[in-house]
Subunit: 215 residues, 2 copies
């Protein structure tokens, strides 16, 4: 027979989990719909049907909710990083899958980068958290790919720090600079075709450059 | 003999120019010192010794002052773009000078990019202004370099839009992601050596890629 006290606790904690999830989903939906991270707790509360006071209870403050949102959205990508590192594929294939994964995440959650920058500005402890939890696993994977490629005689020696900023900045820019997409190129939406062409360009250029080489 | 009315007007307009310049310089200094664009009109007024009400008079509002700051800081770079397009140098040399110029500007005025993104979020008309005045001349130069390189049989065919986002994002990221520099790589300051190494990496990778090619 179930212990009634335990049952009560578990019901309570699953209600708590549901409210937390509702708050996170509401914040994500509002940020996508409005194209901005500038969403108030009151908006999130109304959309989710969860009392705004519970944000403080579950997440400490708005920044805590934003950090939880980041974690929940980037979790699949983080799992993919682990999987990719262990995969039996060539360093070139791993690099392509990695670039494609970053671009796909930015396309799906266009607010992710802005949110990171806002949290970093909010407090240095978020900078450390984001660096440790999100940036370091990306860097570690890139280091492993670069080392593997160098060991196989496929890649030149590359400084992983330079490579890291180059890849992340390049993947990010088409999303971060959407107004340039609109006013310079007359493109209103990043669709799957544009996403694929951008990944193709980044992969081709990072690996082989734009200069015609004989060989 | 000078027309006294004209003389009076000219004295007035040079005082006005001085106040405008003082406001712009104060805003720039404060943003660099504090490492943030989050500087109030009252701070700018105190630092410059110019009455805050004059911001409204000269620039319309805070965003107008920020746009004037951007224009004044990027003017030398814009002039260099014109100069570079007309230079008799190889497309490869032009590309290296171009990358080096962007990185040098970001290093000198680290707030420039954040300011652009804030203005764009403020109002779409700023997005159009920034795209037309700042981004388009950059794109035009890159198109000219890519076309020249292709015509000489040096460059592969490259989509200028993809190339534009790739180059700008890569140049920007090491500055925009300073907290990653700090927490991932233990680097507190971007000095001239790091700047040079980053430009070398970007140029080498964009032109020849990381893959070892025989030829």
């Amino acid at each position: 027979m179930a212990n009634p006290r335990k049952k009560g606790q578990s019901a309570q904690s699953s209600a708590s989990l549901a409210s937390r999830t509702q708050l996170i989903e509401a914040a994500s939906d509002l940020m996508i719909e409005r194209g901005t991270t500038d969403v108030t707790l009151s908006d999130i509360s109304i959309r989710s049907g969860v009392n705004a006071a519970l944000v403080k209870y579950y997440f400490g403050n708005k920044a805590g909710l934003q950090m939880a949102l980041l974690r929940s959205r980037l979790a699949p990508g983080m799992a993919q990083l682990q999987h990719l590192a262990a995969m039996s594929a060539s360093p070139l294939d791993k690099l392509r899958i990695h670039i494609s994964g970053i671009v796909a995440t930015y396309l799906r959650y266009p607010y992710v980068n802005r949110l990171m920058h806002e949290l970093v500005r909010e407090d240095d402890s978020y900078g450390k958290m984001i660096a440790d939890e999100i940036a370091r696993p990306v860097l570690d994977l890139q280091c492993a790919i670069l080392e593997e490629g160098a060991a196989l005689g496929v890649f030149k020696p590359v400084d992983p720090m330079m490579f890291y900023f180059h890849v992340i900045g390049a993947c990010d820019q088409i999303f971060h600079g959407r107004y340039q997409l609109k006013f310079l190129f007359n493109v209103e939406e990043i669709d799957d075709d544009l996403r694929r062409r951008y990944v193709d360009h980044l992969y081709a250029t990072l690996t082989h450059g734009i200069v015609i080489q004989n060989g």
